[in-house]
Every structure is written in C-alpha cells, then in structure tokens.
C-alpha cells in the first residue's frame, strides 16, 4: 500500500484501499480469462435451456398466430406489451447511471456503469422482441419505417407506435455506441494483457489500435461527455414515448398526462432493482468487494427509495385526478375496477411491492445488507411488472361499453415467452461477464489517480 492510500479506509469509500494500476488491471481484466466458477456454469446452463424454450415459443407463435396467447377483444394487448414495457424500463438504469450520474460527477457510478450498461443492452434486446412478436403479421414489421415503396404508402406518424420504433431503435443504438466507446481503452488493455494470442488478436481488432495518445484522449474525452449529454435526454424521452402508447389514447386508465414522468420514475425503480439483482451475485462470485463497496449498495438503495416514492406519488395522483375529473369512466377505472375488480389482488400486490417493501431502506443497515437488498429488488421487479399489468390488462378488460367487458387469462405460451426472455437475458449477461471487463478498468484507475491526488493535497 502506498502511503496516501493508507489515509482513507472506511467502507464508505467507493474504492477500498488504493490498489496500484497494476493491481487493479490484473484484478479486473482477469475476470475475462479466470477459470469459470461452478455457479457461473450452472446459471449458464439454466439460462441456455430457458432460451431454447423461448425459441420454441416464438416459432410456435409465428407459425400458428398470436391466437396462442391469452389476448382477446377487449384485451387486445396482453403479456406482449407488458413484457415490452417492463424490459424497456429495466433498460433505463444503465444509461441513467452511466450518463446522468456521470454528468452529476457521482464517483460511485464508476465501478458499476459498464455493468449496468451491459444490462441495459440486454434488457432492451428482450424488449425489442415483443413489439415484433405481438404483431398479427410480424413479417410486415418493416412497414413501420419510411422507405420508398411501390405501394407509395408510408408509416402513419400520428400513431405512438412509430415513435416507439424510433425511440427504441435510437436508444439501443446509442447505448451500444456509448458502451463501446467506453470500452475501447479497456479492450486495448486486454489486447496488451490477455493471456492467449487469439484473445489478444480479437480484442486488438475491437480496440482499433488504441494507443492512448494525447490526441486520442483529447477527442475521446469530449465524445464521451457528449454521448453522456445526449443519452441523458434520450433516456428520459424513451420511456416518456413508451408511455405515450397509452397516454395518447382515450382509454380510461391510459388517457393520462402524468404518464411520461410516472413511467420514467418507474423505469428507474425497476432498473435499479435489476442492477442489484445482478450485481450482488456477481460481486460475490468474482470477489469484487473492494470496487463494489457498501457505499455503492447504499447509493442504489437510496435510488430505490426515492423512485418508489415518486411512483407512489403517481399512484395517488392518478386516483386524485380520476376523482377530481368527475369523468365517470376514469372514476370507475381507477377507484372501482383496479382496487376492487377482477384483478384486485394484482393491484394490492403492486402497491406492496413498489411502495411498501422499499420503505425498509430508511434504515442504513438495511441499505447495506445484500440479502435485504436482493429480496426487495426481486419484489420491486415483480411489482413493476404488475404495474404494467394493471395499466394494460386491467384497463382494457373494462373500458367504455360494459357489453364487451371480459377477463384476460394468460396461456402457457404467454408464460413460456416471459420465462424465455428472462433466460435469454441471463444468458447474454453471463456471457458478457466473461467477454469484457465488467468493471471499467481505465475509468477506475483514473478515478483512483484523482483520489490519490486529492488525498495528497489534504
């Protein structure tokens, strides 16, 4: 340990100890070539199977039609769109952490941003499946994009769906770019450190010949900041636009101006929950206690608490506006149907998971207990799924004309696809852990240097 490093050692630090550049590099780069642990292998196998099941379900759906799902008239949207919104929401934490917290100069983001960005990408990939799958004729999905067709027809851009298409594709592409740009120096490091020649060549190609020269750093720095600056409004816009799929309609329970902020908050809530669900085991498996410290957990827990309160506020606001508007349909939807209708149980489950369970984080001890964090995160993820269930299924099942009211019951294909995406998500994630350093080495080394610098000053 170098002398200055000895100064700070309390667990409140975002970096325990002051490991040297060499130490950090060895520890964090080696996650890609260290032999795989048993836990990892088991997880990979399970996810593989689930992914296979996803493949089967998707094939079935495309061959026979979405009649295989539980959807009906009135409930024309079911699991497909619920899962879409849920996954997209999860995808939000990544960019939030890496972009917004970067601009807010939150140091605790550094060691987890790559990780969460990865999560974002894979979540958005799951989400992207659904708008495609839920179409009656998926093979015409490209009609959503404007191209000179011999039919001389175009997309109808007053609909929120083309907005969605644009938003989701943009969000995915930008996330990939952001992620890759951040990766380049680490890829270069792997090029120069990886054990086998093949690995070094592969990494070398993707490193594009990065040398870390002043001129490269000069543009790199600005580009990275700009991407963060662009991703920040983007991440806010994406879920706002997703929320417009509902807010732009006249359906009671959808037709609401509060949706955009409400959805973004919910997205970040579910996103952070998923971050914790993933990072706690990873931290344990790869023994990264020094870079992912209680300080990180604490911060994440606080985010959960804050966003869950925003969400709670939105629920209350919905009820109030419904009552205050005096609109008979809105009143019925919000004050009768959801809390006491066919799906009342889902409503109360949602409230418990999203608003009650998170309250434990008023306690500092809870905020730092991995077990509690993990449990609550799982609850929140479930709760947020059911929030989308409330919005989509429950609202549709009872809209304007009572004559067409009807209940929605999912089929085994619905459940199979949901499980499948979970597996596919896990599969990608586990692979990601092995392919690139999931803690940004370069950024961490730089942060360490700055911290040492500051400490020397003191």
């Amino acid at each position: 340990m170098s002398a200055p490093a000895a100064i700070a050692h309390d667990t409140d630090d975002v970096l325990v100890g002051r490991p040297s550049d060499t130490e950090l590099s060895d520890q964090l780069l080696s996650t890609t070539w260290r032999p795989m642990t048993r836990a990892w292998k088991i997880g990979f196998a399970i996810c593989g199977l689930l992914t296979l099941n996803l493949l089967v379900m998707v094939t079935l759906t495309v061959l026979r039609g979405i009649g295989l799902w539980g959807n009906n008239i009135p409930v024309a949207w079911g699991f497909g769109i619920i899962n879409f919104v849920w996954w997209i929401g999860i995808g939000h934490a990544g960019t939030f952490i890496s972009a917004i917290l970067l601009l807010l100069e939150q140091r605790w983001r550094t060691s987890i941003n790559r990780f969460t960005e990865g999560m974002t990408l894979f979540a958005v990939m799951q989400a992207g499946l659904f708008p495609l799958l839920h179409l009656g004729r998926p093979w015409f999905a490209y009609w959503l994009f404007p191209y000179p067709s011999v039919m001389d027809t175009w997309p109808q851009v007053r609909s929120a769906l083309p907005w969605d298409a644009a938003a989701v594709t943009t969000y995915f592409s930008v996330s990939v770019m952001f992620w890759y740009l951040g990766l380049v120096p680490d890829l270069a490091a792997l090029r120069d450190r990886a054990p086998s020649r093949t690995r070094r060549i592969i990494y070398g190609i993707f490193a594009l010949g990065w040398r870390g020269s002043v001129r490269q750093w000069r543009h790199y720095h600005v580009a990275y900041l700009l991407l963060a600056g662009l991703a920040t409004p983007l991440v806010l816009s994406v879920h706002s636009i997703v929320s417009l799929d509902f807010a732009s309609t006249i359906l009671p329970g959808w037709h609401s101006t509060i949706f955009p902020p409400f959805f973004v908050a919910g997205a970040i809530l579910s996103g952070f929950a998923m971050v914790l669900i993933l990072i706690l085991p990873a931290r344990r498996v790869f023994g990264l206690y020094n870079v992912i410290t209680p300080r990180h957990l604490d911060a994440a827990a606080k985010m959960l608490l804050i966003t869950s309160w925003i969400v709670a506020y939105s629920y209350i606001a919905e009820l109030f506006t419904a009552w205050y508007s005096g609109d008979r349909y809105e009143v019925y939807q919000q004050i009768v149907n959801r809390p006491f209708g066919w799906y009342a149980w889902a409503y109360w489950l949602m409230l418990f998971c999203n608003c009650v369970a998170t309250q434990v984080f008023w306690s500092r001890r809870m905020r730092r207990s991995p077990v509690v964090l993990f449990a609550v995160s799982v609850l929140v993820s479930i709760g947020m799924w059911f929030e989308r269930f409330e919005i989509i299924v429950v609202s549709l099942s009872r809209d304007f004309l009572p004559s067409s009211w009807y209940i929605f019951i999912p089929t085994w294909v619905d459940l199979g696809i949901l499980a499948g995406t979970l597996g596919f998500f896990g599969l990608l994630f586990l692979a990601f852990l092995r392919v690139v350093p999931f803690v940004p080495v370069t950024e961490l080394k730089q942060m360490r240097a700055e911290m040492v610098h500051e400490e020397v000053r003191r």
Partner: protein, 204 residues
C-alpha cells in the same frame, strides 16, 4: 516532411506514473522540444494543457449532425403527410406538428451520437491496428500502468541537439525526472518499418 513522418517518434521515454510523466515532459520542454506526444493508460490531469493541445472541436460536428438528423426527420414527415399522400386520419390535420416531434427528436439524438462516436474514432486516427510505437518493447504496458512520452521526428529543436552529447544530456534529464527507460529511435532509418536499430542507454 509529411505529417506522418514528422510525427514519427525519435525519442521515447517510459514513466511509472502520471506525475512523473509530467515532470519528464517539462524536462523535454526545457530543452526546447515542442513536437511531443504522450501515451497513457488513462487521462492524466494537466497533460493536455502541458502539451498545449487545444480542446477538441468535435462538438461542432455533433451539433451539425443533430440539426441534420432532426431537420431531415421533420421534413420527411411533413412531406409524407402533406405532399406525397395526404390522408384523413381521424380528422387530424395533415400537418400535425406535435405528432412529428418525437421522431424528430429521436433522429437528432441518433445522428448526433453516431457522429460523436465516429469522429472520436476518426479524429483519433483510428482504426489503425499497427503503429510504429507498437514495435517498441514494453510499450504494451502503456495501456496498463506505464506512461510514455515521445518526441516526433519533425521537432524543430531536434536537429540542434541531436548529437551524442545532446542525447546524453536529455537522457539524464529524463532520468532525473523519473524515466524508467529512454529510447532513441534512429532517424536515419526508414520510418514506419519494424526492426529499427535501438540505441539504448541505461538511464542510471
């Protein structure tokens, strides 16, 4: 002398930390050298200023791309709905400006981001899998934990001091600044080709 050739390093020195690197650069600057470049595993505070590299102008490219993307998107939507195939959709006006905005915004962001990434790569002289410096022994630590400074062949001050004595002076100066190694890469030799004569002298 071409740009590439003049950038070709003649003298390179390796340091163990950012601060040390900065000292070394000051030493070189002291001996009037100006065409300097540095290779570091991560951004070293103050390095850019010390080398007198101006802030990147990449932002302007990005701004242009954003405007192009957004403007293009809006125009396309307008043209589709007002000019090419106007249809009565739910009694909404052909030119439904508010409805055109989301896509406009998204396209602006998309183009801007793409521009940012690409220009960062291109302006950084990438992709360039091979570079003379990669030929140097131990340079692979430049991405891990070593900090390098290089003097380009085109340096104006170089001819004046590039003799046996000058080399010794500079080497000692760098050594004093904490350089682990100092390499003189013979200028007489063809640039851009592997296997230079490596006239090494121990710093100690």
């Amino acid at each position: 002398m071409t740009r590439a050739a003049s950038a070709r390093p003649v003298l390179m020195a390796e340091f163990s930390s950012g601060p040390a690197l900065l000292d070394g650069i000051r030493a070189l600057a002291g001996s009037g050298m100006s065409r300097l470049d540095a290779f570091t595993p991560y951004e070293v505070a103050g390095l850019r200023q010390l080398l007198g590299v101006r802030r990147s102008w990449l932002s302007w490219i990005v701004l242009a791309a954003a405007l192009a993307g957004g403007g293009g998107a809006y125009l396309l939507q307008w043209w589709i709905n007002v000019v090419d195939y106007p249809l009565n959709i739910g009694g909404r006006p052909y030119h439904s400006a508010p409805a055109f905005l989301p896509i406009t915004f998204e396209m602006a962001v998309l183009c801007a981001s793409a521009a940012a990434l690409l220009s960062a790569i291109v302006l950084g002289g990438l992709p360039r899998l091979w570079d003379p410096v990669f030929e140097i022994d131990g340079f692979d630590r430049a991405t891990i934990d070593r900090f390098w400074v290089a003097v380009g062949a085109g340096d104006a001050a170089l001819p004046a001091i590039d003799d046996a004595q000058g080399r010794i002076d500079i080497t000692t100066a760098l050594g004093a600044a904490g350089a682990l190694r100092v390499l003189w890469l013979d200028a007489a030799d063809r640039p851009d080709r592997p296997g230079w004569r490596d006239t090494r002298e121990d710093a100690r």
